[in-house]
């Protein structure tokens, strides 16, 4: 495992945004983290990168055998951009408007590898070519606003991968893009992943994206893990009512009509007691309002009282 996160808790003051979440990824594999906005999926990944500002992080984040919780900021900084990298949702605002894309791609490489300006520049052109930007040498000298949305995300990917990291965290990388461009970006990530044996964490609210790329899926709700299993298992037989609700609300999922999950996500300041999904759950029991369900199961983990009971009966 290149990354193992155990019992991760992230809080801002009194507010727990992520509450006891565990996951891991190995090289060449993709973990999909799915959830609504506010489910804690982005905060978890920022914590892995050490980019959680003003937040307190507890639990364990082990990267290639090294514990990152409590590691010095300097150590985290030296890992960021060199061994683990991240790309973001909106590639235009995530690129600096005043520097050329060549400079921006070269910057991290030059810093982490201590190369000359010229060598870093060559590396940037090479990376831009690798992510499929035509005429990379000429385009390296242009500014981000001259690129289309898909091309900008390619630039972000080139920037993230310039130092050949082991782990790539992609936070909603295709959300801001056209559907056809989405597919190209996902294919690009998959191709580079296959070539380099990269571990990928794909954070998204789009189950279509997860179905396409993920080997394993972690469904998050209200800062906690709801369901965690191999992707095939989740799509073949979603066990948590929330996951079932998510699948039913995806167009083209084989259902006759789309079903919305009633209600809205829980507020992190004042989350419901017991199972956080119980106010919106169609099959909630009395116990769901009072007891927090544990994440149970071997290969297919679910945090649901209903499933827990069935599980106990089956064994």
């Amino acid at each position: 495992m290149i990354l193992s996160v155990t019992d991760l808790t992230v809080s801002f003051g009194e507010v727990r945004v992520v509450d006891g979440v565990s996951f891991s990824v190995q090289c060449g594999k993709t973990l999909g983290i799915v959830g609504e906005s506010g489910s804690g999926k982005s905060v978890s990944s920022l914590a892995v990168m050490g980019l959680h500002r003003n937040a307190s992080v507890r639990g364990s984040i082990e990267f290639d055998g090294e514990e990152l919780v409590g590691a010095s900021p300097e150590r985290l900084r030296s890992l960021r951009g060199s061994r683990m990298a991240m790309i973001f949702q909106d590639p235009l605002s995530s690129l600096h408007p005043f520097f050329t894309v060549g400079e921006q791609v070269a910057e991290a490489y030059r810093l982490h590898r201590r190369t000359s300006r010229k060598a870093a520049r060559e590396r940037a052109v090479e990376m831009l070519a690798e992510v499929g930007i035509p005429e990379p040498r000429r385009r390296a000298g242009e500014h981000p606003h001259r690129f289309s949305g898909g091309m900008r995300q390619r630039v972000m990917i080139a920037m993230a991968l310039a130092c050949e990291p082991d782990l790539l965290i992609a936070d909603e990388p295709t959300t801001a893009l056209d559907v056809t461009v989405q597919a190209q970006i996902l294919e690009l990530i998959a191709r580079i992943q296959a070539e380099r044996g990269l571990a990928v964490i794909m954070i998204t609210h789009d189950l279509g994206v997860v179905a396409r790329v993920a080997d394993e899926v972690l469904v998050m709700y209200g800062g906690r893990a709801a369901e965690h299993a191999p992707a095939r298992t989740v799509f073949a037989g979603p066990a948590h009512p929330y996951t079932r609700g998510l699948l039913a609300s995806v167009p083209g999922a084989g259902l006759d009509r789309l079903v919305a999950i009633p209600g809205s996500p829980p507020s992190p300041q004042n989350p419901p007691g017991g199972c956080r999904f119980h106010p919106r759950c169609p099959s909630a029991l009395d116990v769901c309002a009072s007891e927090r369900p544990a994440l149970l199961g071997g290969g297919h983990k679910v945090a649901c009282h209903l499933e827990g009971a069935l599980h106990a009966v089956r064994h």
Binding site: L51, R77, R80, M86, F88, S93, S94, M156
Partner: protein, 321 residues
């Protein structure tokens, strides 16, 4: 680009012409008679008429205006290009007076600009990086106070404290840079501080707001995600974006000050353009008022143009066509 430049310079010329015309008309409708003043106490009607004719005041106002404008561009008899007329007070060419006074005003403006840029941006950055801290709040209260105090009050206060009470410095007497650089600087120190106190306060508040806004941008998060050290994240990625609007405002402020800071120069007795304009206004000296007004307008208009052109260089998203 060349077409754009030509249009902008043409527009600037029109603006200057309009300012000149407005100043001319204002002066024309004023109930003062410079001929009467020049004629002296023992003035006979015949002598007055002769003086008036010599000064060109017997001509209709549009003829006077035309003579003036053509004089500026082509010179006229007995007054070479660029002719801004002669002062009513001492019959010296206004252009020579302006040139003579320009050194003091430019010295004042540039020295103050260096001070306020360093102090203002420095304070703004420190405050922004420690947003909400006790230091930040103290600095922001101090800058608000400094920006609220009138220039003449700060000038008087400095004169009182530094010159009268503690006698650290003598009363400023302008010395040219080429004569004695040390005396030049020490005599300009109080005027510099006076002007800089006002502008530094405004620049500190602007830089703070700009940097705080920039540091919340997603591209700053990208810079951190790349593993850049914080000094590069702030110093390169943050400052590059935060300072861009400051540069444009700085250009215009400096342009406005190059043609004289009337109050500061008057309080400190600096022989600059602002002081010249003040004396011209007090004595109803039309050619001097016109000359100083046009020079100030020229600096402002061209500072604006320079800033607009510079913006295309510093912000790659702006390109002129």
């Amino acid at each position: 680009m060349i077409g754009y430049l030509a249009r902008r310079i043409g527009a600037a010329a029109v603006i200057l012409l309009v300012i000149c015309a407005v100043t001319f008309v204002i002066f024309y409708v004023l109930p003062t008679d410079p001929a009467l003043a020049a004629c002296g106490k023992t003035c006979t009607p015949e002598y007055l008429a002769r003086v008036r004719a010599e000064m060109g005041l017997d001509q209709p106002v549009h003829t006077q205006f035309w003579l003036y404008v053509s004089g500026v561009f082509a010179g006229r008899e007995g007054c070479g290009f660029p002719c801004f007329g002669y002062s009513y007070q001492n019959a010296l060419p206004v252009w020579d007076l302006l040139l003579d006074r320009l050194g003091a005003s430019v010295s004042l403006a540039i020295g103050a600009a260096v001070l306020w840029l360093v102090a203002g941006v420095g304070i703004g950055v420190i405050s922004a990086l420690r947003q909400g801290s006790a230091l930040d709040r103290t600095l922001m209260i101090a800058t608000l106070t400094s920006a609220s105090l009138p220039v003449y009050f700060v000038a008087m206060l400095l004169l009182l404290l530094v010159v009268r009470v503690t006698r650290i410095l003598p009363y400023p007497a302008y010395v040219e840079l080429t004569t004695d650089p040390v005396a030049w600087a020490s005599n300009l120190l109080l005027p510099w501080v006076t002007l800089a106190a006002l502008y530094a306060a405004m620049y500190a508040r602007m830089s703070r707001a700009q940097l705080i806004e920039t540091m919340a941008e997603p591209y700053i998060r990208t810079a951190r995600a790349k593993g850049l050290p914080e000094r590069i994240v702030v110093g390169k990625h943050g400052m590059r974006a935060a300072m861009t609007p400051i540069v444009t405002i700085f250009g215009m402020d400096l342009g406005g000050l190059l043609a004289g800071a009337m109050i500061t120069e008057t309080v400190f007795g600096l022989p600059g353009i602002g002081r010249l304009a003040y004396d011209g206004i007090v004595k109803a000296d039309q050619p001097v008022i016109l000359g100083t007004t046009l020079l100030a307008a020229f600096f402002v208009v061209f500072a604006n143009l320079a800033v607009d052109l510079l913006y295309g260089v510093i912000d790659p998203r702006v390109r002129y066509s």
